[in-house]
Homo-oligomer: 287 residues x 2
DNA sequence: TAAGGGTATAACAAATGGTTATGGGTGATC
DNA sequence: GATCACCCATAACCATTTGTTATACCCTTA
């Protein structure tokens, strides 16, 4: 029996769907389907009732669901304790501004509670290349970025992926809608981040895929300011989901673009695999 | 991370040796070596200090050793609870006399404590073929025997393997030794079990491998009587280890035959895999 | 110095775990 | 009531993993 199967089982049960769970787990639906069959085979019992609308638990599945979470939690804490013996301290993280400003602080706050001792510092840069150089030169120990298109020799693990939204002021005509299609925005002029920025690069790639031209109304240095720009009704923008959590809901609306398949993927990249695993444990584990 | 790796880690730690543990686990030493490396890689820490005399735990290994057993116990109990939902009752076991007399009673007693409800009955026969026929015809649900040389379509899992010993009366000349070699006994006349019996068959095979002739002094129907025979100083015999636990230590001595490689292997064979797994859980699990 | 017990490594076969492509239900929508 | 969107299963395929046997090398001991 594989511990990953059990983790996947928990996710699947909560999502009530193999397809949705497989996205959360960064794998395809058939792969997850196979894993759950393996788990059922291993336990000698059917865990899910599968239907065209999703999956629900059998009696056996309910037993597993109720009992397994503390087990996984315990395994996780053992993992952490073992990594702690390595005496790793003073981890230096390099990442993009949006991650540093919107994502890391909460994680750090949660981890600090249990591990005051271990100081973590953050170095911020817009550009891939610079962050990777920092990593290579030992200025940082780990990087958080989208490394799908980058060749590198380091240990790496996907953390999450986020869809893009159209950010508009509440008074903008599109703000009445609750979702939009790419056609609704492809001819709008957008406020964008600098050319070296990951979000900008992904946006340009997405427009190319959709055979559209990215029209730029203004270019702004940092994510936080772009939000200020939109909330002053000076333009609209397409940004990753994380920006929604830090935008003023009363003035800004974020609209899902249903047929916009491009996602931003954030991975943890570490020169030293042990340090990567420790950080994963301390900051990014769901347990 | 694989749950089997963790179980193997426990066994290895207790055995202080990959080689010895690999025997207990019914696998080869390189296979176990690989598993332990995988576990170390997964955890990001070295667990064992390997030397020419065996293995011992590192600090990280000690943490794992101290913490993991209850986790495995819990997983095991969940497994059992899940199998119990299938409402399997009245399991009928078929096996050889020695297993039925010396091995099963203890196991059943231990299991009965927690599971009074589930009655288990036992059918005994000397011969493979008859036991397999019982299985085929549904007279029994599971069989306990050595199925290494048998082709069958059923679910099967090795339970244990036992070496053979020379059983002699305390007054026998060899009783002064604490171990012997095959050469010391190959010309002795032995008391043996009937020709259809598994122990007899293995014994004949072993003598053939060692290029010796099996000389028979008498043939006796059942294991328990053979022990009585020896304790009356009426002969010597070669029998599997389990007979030592039920022989009168003050009158009988069991001598390891160091260069006698033949072993008796007992597997659990079940028509219905779920029932096999349940029985494994209830009766034969180390947890 | 040779033997015996211990682990590691190489080479290979079988099983596993992932991918894409595709098919068949089911429920919502026009 | 046809069609679309969504969900799960399966097939075919490839890469990785996990087992096997054979062998090497190290250390302890006789």
């Amino acid at each position: 029996m594989n511990v990953e199967w059990l983790e996947a089982f928990l996710i699947t049960t909560k999502a009530k769907s193999l397809t949705k769970a497989s996205e959360q787990l960064h794998m395809t639906q058939p792969a997850l389907s196979k894993q759950m069959r393996k788990l059922e085979e291993d336990l000698g019992a059917t865990l899910f009732i599968r239907s065209a609308t999703g999956v629900e638990l059998t009696e056996a599945g309910k037993i597993l669901f109720e009992e397994i979470e503390p087990v996984l939690r315990k395994i996780h804490s053992i993992r952490k304790d073992i990594l702690m013996t390595k005496g790793i301290t003073g981890i230096k993280i390099g990442t993009w501004p949006s991650i540093a400003a919107f994502y890391l602080p909460d994680r750090l706050a949660a981890a600090k509670k249990s591990h005051k001792d271990r100081e973590i510092s953050i170095k911020v840069s817009y550009s891939y290349k610079e962050i990777l150089r920092f990593l290579r030169e030992g200025i940082i120990d780990v990087a958080l970025l989208d490394d799908r298109e980058i060749q590198h020799p380091y240990w790496s693990k996907q953390l999450f992926s986020e869809p893009f939204y159209l950010f508009v002021h509440r008074q903008h005509p599109l703000a009445k809608r609750d979702h939009i299609y790419f056609n609704d925005v492809k001819d709008e002029s957008l406020v964008v981040l600098p050319p070296s920025c990951d979000v900008r690069i992904l946006l340009e790639k997405a427009f190319k895929i959709h055979n559209a031209d990215l029209k730029i109304s203004s270019e702004i240095d940092f994510g936080q300011s772009i939000i200020g720009f939109i909330s002053a009704n000076l333009g609209v923008s397409i940004l990753p989901e994380i920006f929604t959590h830090h935008a003023d809901q009363s003035r800004i609306k974020a609209l899902p673009i249903v047929d916009f398949k491009m996602k931003r993927v954030i991975s943890l990249i570490s020169r030293n695999p042990d340090m990567g695993k420790l950080l994963l444990s301390l900051l990014f584990s769901p347990y």
